[in-house]
Amino acid sequence: MIPAPAFLSNPERFMAFSRWAAPLFGLIALVLALAGLWLGFSAPEDYQQGATVRVMFIHVPAAWMSMFVYACLGVASFLALIFRHALADAAAQAAAPLGAAFTALALITGSLWGRPMWGTWWVWDARLTSVLVLFLFYVAYMALRGAMDDEAKAARACAILALVGVVNLPVVHWSVTWWNTLHQGETVFAKGGPKLSAVYLTPLLLMGLAYMAAFGSLWLVRIRGEVWRRRAEAALSRLARA
């Protein structure tokens, strides 16, 4: 059973839990990725897209994670802002670089998929532009965090910025429905079920779970780092006072 967030809000319990959970999630991610890649490369080439369909198995999960990680950043920021919880702020801070990496991955692999299929590396359509805005929110969050020395003020300012950026998430998700875009419409989470053959859907979902487990593992590792960084700064100030 996965411990409830209330259980993990205690830093000591979190450190004990994450010590074994981080490597376990990493191992799960590796097994799922190997299975997903095996099935993905065993699937036949698409009749229209040819071998480029294989980019889907790494691009689409990265795009899912770009939004999921931002949702985690938003929830952690909300908890940090309302309850002034240090571990929630550490979780938000730890999520930002991972989210930025997943979003960059989605943009780069999307561009490499778009060039042979659309004939262009980039187009300013609603989906691509809103994902670029999402990436800029991550970058702005990290820049603001790095620019402020006062930890409490930085936590508050960054939490507000993160919550403003949450507005962009439904725009990213429904951009292909609200506007005419070059980007493909909803496929996996479409009304009436996935519009994708099982030979592609199974490896895609396995890769999605692999990315999710990898994020879980790395997020825990980075939160642990944040907890230690704050403990080091507290110890430094104690030594300076003594």
Partner: protein, 62 residues
């Protein structure tokens, strides 16, 4: 069996996989290094605090 022949699209498919691998390796290396660096720093500072506490206790006894 897996089909690794991307044919005329190899110039797009393999760079996409290469960049994905590079970004994952970067994320793992950066996260582990960040966490390890601060864990070692905490241990150093705890040792320094213990040493300082011991010195102060010895000074008080004298």
């Amino acid at each position: 069996m897996p089909d690794l022949d991307a044919g005329k699209y190899a110039a797009f498919v393999w760079p996409a996989y290469g960049i994905t691998l590079a970004i994952f390796v970067g994320m793992i290396a950066a996260s582990v290094a960040f966490s390890g660096r601060w864990r070692r720093r905490v241990e150093e500072l705890k040792a320094a605090e213990a040493q300082k506490g011991g010195e102060e206790e010895a000074g008080a006894r004298q």
